[in-house]
């Protein structure tokens, strides 16, 4: 064969290859279309949208809608823009992701390497928490947040997401550590390492892929959550998703669609970024242990 372009020796014809790429390209375009329209409309003046041509490129390019959405748009009653709420979401998501990942890793470590009576039942119950719908926990959670006097605050939301995430992160780490050789833990025990030393020095450094999975999963869920945000944090403490809703549903004045589009992209930005930066670890982590390395 003149050019070995594929990894195996079976050569498909050029026609097939063109067809495959064309199909893939078409689907990619189809999926990107909504995002494209959002982007395009967030960069035009409002009168171009209300003029009725949503799909066309802007005649006048402007970043005014972005600036407005970020710092001056009317959110509820205050003209603050989305900025403070974006910060709220960061302040909520980052600690909640870190806490739930660390606790999930610890749980996985204990459940697989420190056998104790009832471990299976406890894991089963933790797993069960993955399948409880959000709505069921709303009222008990509100009561608990009230008792702890953190209702309506970012700290309250951190607690909610942290607790809700433990089930998932435990599942990830338990399955990952189940394939982790127990002899390593025993060797470390003989070497004199304690419970936390084994965790920090032996287990965690080998957990890169699953930490990535846990962080991406948790960050996406927490960032995109609307229900808990709307239920447990009102006003100044509201997260980005709730603020975006308030922006779009403002009942006074003209509906600034271009500003809404810009705000929506801002709200989707961080999760997109996380996927682009760490997406390959996500696949790698999910596949870990399934194939003998």
């Amino acid at each position: 064969m003149a050019v070995a372009s594929t990894e195996n020796a079976i050569r498909s014809s050029n026609f097939t290859r063109v067809l495959v790429y064309l199909t893939l390209l078409l689907f990619a375009l189809f999926y990107l279309l909504p995002f494209g329209i959002m982007l395009v409309n967030s960069l035009k003046p409002l009168d171009e949208i209300t003029g009725g041509n949503m799909v066309a490129l802007p005649q006048t390019w402007t970043i005014e809608p972005w600036l407005s959405a970020w710092s001056t748009a009317q959110i509820g009653v205050e003209p603050t823009g989305l900025r403070p709420y974006f910060m709220n979401s960061i302040m909520m998501a980052v600690p909640a992701v870190i806490l739930s990942t660390v606790v999930g890793a610890l749980n996985g470590y204990v459940l697989t390497k420190w056998h104790f009576r009832g471990a299976t039942i406890i894991f089963g119950l933790l797993l069960f928490s993955c399948f409880i719908p959000f709505q069921i926990v709303l009222i008990p959670m509100a009561r608990i947040l009230g008792i702890l006097e953190i209702a309506g605050t970012t700290v309250g939301l951190i607690l909610v997401h942290f607790v809700y995430g433990i089930g998932f992160t435990t599942l990830y780490f338990r399955n990952y550590y189940a394939a982790f050789p127990t002899e390593l833990v025993r060797a470390a025990q003989i070497d004199g390492a304690g419970f936390f030393q084994i965790f920090w020095r032996i287990m965690l450094p080998s957990s890169g892929p699953i930490i990535a999975v846990s962080c991406i999963w948790q960050f996406t869920n927490i960032w995109n959550d609307f229900l808990f945000g709307a239920s447990f944090a009102s006003g100044d403490a509201a997260p980005m998703t709730v603020a975006l809703n308030n922006l779009v549903n403002s009942s006074t004045g003209v509906r600034e669609y271009n500003v809404h589009f810009a705000g929506a992209i801002m709200a989707a930005g961080p999760t997109l970024l996380v996927y682009i930066l760490a997406g390959r670890y996500f696949v790698r982590g999910l596949m870990a242990g399934s194939v003998k390395g």
């Binding site: 002899e183 390593l184 025993r186 060797a187 003989i190 070497d191 004199g192 030393q197 020095r201 032996i202």
Partner: protein
């Protein structure tokens, strides 16, 4: 009291006892091998010495200090695992010094200890590599280095060679033996490979079904097996165990076996222990090692009681250094070990020479040795 004492130790999981009342005393500098088939309890016993498994009853002590309930890191032992168990995120150097670091040894001492061990095992050029970049033999060395650097009272080896290919295994076996000779350390070594057990050990504990079947030097185990299990487990090819009848002819005891043509062959036993008398005119099991059945020219010149065993050759298997000949005795295959150039042909009658000095007798019911 020995250096490492295992006193009436049992292990039970719930109601199931997997290790029954084990008594072994190991002297300082001894190389004890625990050998047996899978599931015999040898690894469990090793893990109990290491402190990785609890002791159900009995007592394990090292240097007269009772170790029941003592944490593995406080027993001054080191262990080499079957999978090597090297920490994948650390370099070879960090792997070797991790134990010292955990025990609070100062950095300077750790480094000098590491340098000594690396020199001893010739792994100085590997110290900055990660375990993933090493070959099987190199990993094995690092695992031993990690054990050696601690300068422990007792070394525990859990089937350390079973992941290596055949040739490397033989090389590493010699290395371990050399190491033991040079350092004079006390070693407990678990294996299912009887050749490893024979070559490495100063003493062997043959285990089966949770019992120590026999404890003794390699020579004792090989020449004077306590029962049929030990006799057939140790040695390759395995010892021939033939059903025979013990009769008295001309004032001497004879073991009578049946040849491949149905003929009776009487084999005279000299200097019979008194215990044999009780089995007169009853069935016994006659144990004879393949190397004790040869061609007449190849027979041991120092043997006093070499007898003729006329029989028909079944199969010949030339192995280069020896030729293994299979024939039928008392309805079972019986292997003889001949010189490589012995003149034997399948289907031909042949006058085998059997060295009855080496024959051992077993009770057919209990399979225990008679007159041991």
């Amino acid at each position: 009291m020995g250096f490492l004492d295992i006193n009436g130790v049992t292990k039970a999981y719930g109601a199931v006892e997997v290790l029954h009342h084990v008594d072994i005393s190991v002297e300082e500098g001894e190389f004890l091998v625990l050998v047996g088939p899978s599931g015999c309890g040898k690894s469990t016993l090793l893990n109990m010495i290491a402190g990785l498994e609890g002791i159900t009853s009995g007592e394990i002590s090292i240097k007269d200090r009772v170790m029941n309930g003592v944490h593995p890191s406080k027993r001054n032992i080191a262990m080499v695992f079957q999978s090597y168990a090297l920490y994948p995120n650390m370099t070879v150097g960090q792997n070797i010094t991790f134990g010292l670091e955990m025990h609070g040894t100062p950095k300077a001492d750790r480094d000098s200890a590491m340098a000594d061990v690396a020199k001893l095992l010739q792994i100085e050029n590997l110290l900055d590599r990660k375990p993933g970049q090493l070959s099987g033999g190199q990993r094995q060395r690092v695992a031993m280095g990690r054990a050696l650097v601690r300068d422990p009272d007792v070394f525990l080896f859990d089937e350390p060679l079973s992941n290596l290919d055949a040739k490397l295994r033989v090389d590493m076996r010699t290395e371990i033996k050399k190491l033991h000779q040079n350092l004079g350390t006390t070693i407990v070594y678990v294996t299912h490979d009887q050749i490893e057990a024979m070559t490495l050990s100063t003493r062997i504990a043959v285990m089966y079904d949770g019992y120590v079947q026999q404890l003794g030097t390699p020579k004792e185990i090989y020449d004077n097996p306590a029962n049929v299990f030990v006799a057939t487990f140790m040695g390759s090819p395995a010892m021939n165990v033939l059903s025979a009848r013990l009769v008295e002819q001309n004032g001497a005891l004879h073991a009578v076996v049946t040849g491949s043509e149905g003929q009776d062959i009487a084999l005279r036993i000299e200097d019979a222990p008194a215990a044999y008398g009780a089995y007169k005119d009853s069935n016994i099991l006659l144990g004879i090692r393949p190397e004790a059945i040869t061609d007449p020219e190849g027979a041991d010149r120092n043997a006093r009681n070499v007898q003729s065993l006329p029989n028909t050759v079944g199969v010949t298997e030339p192995a280069g250094s020896d030729t293994f000949v299979t024939m039928t005795i008392s309805g079972k295959d019986c292997v003889a070990r001949m010189r490589a150039d012995a003149d034997v042909h399948p289907g031909q009658p042949f006058d085998f020479a059997i060295n009855m000095d080496k024959a051992v007798l077993f009770d057919p019911k209990t399979e225990e040795r008679i007159g041991a």
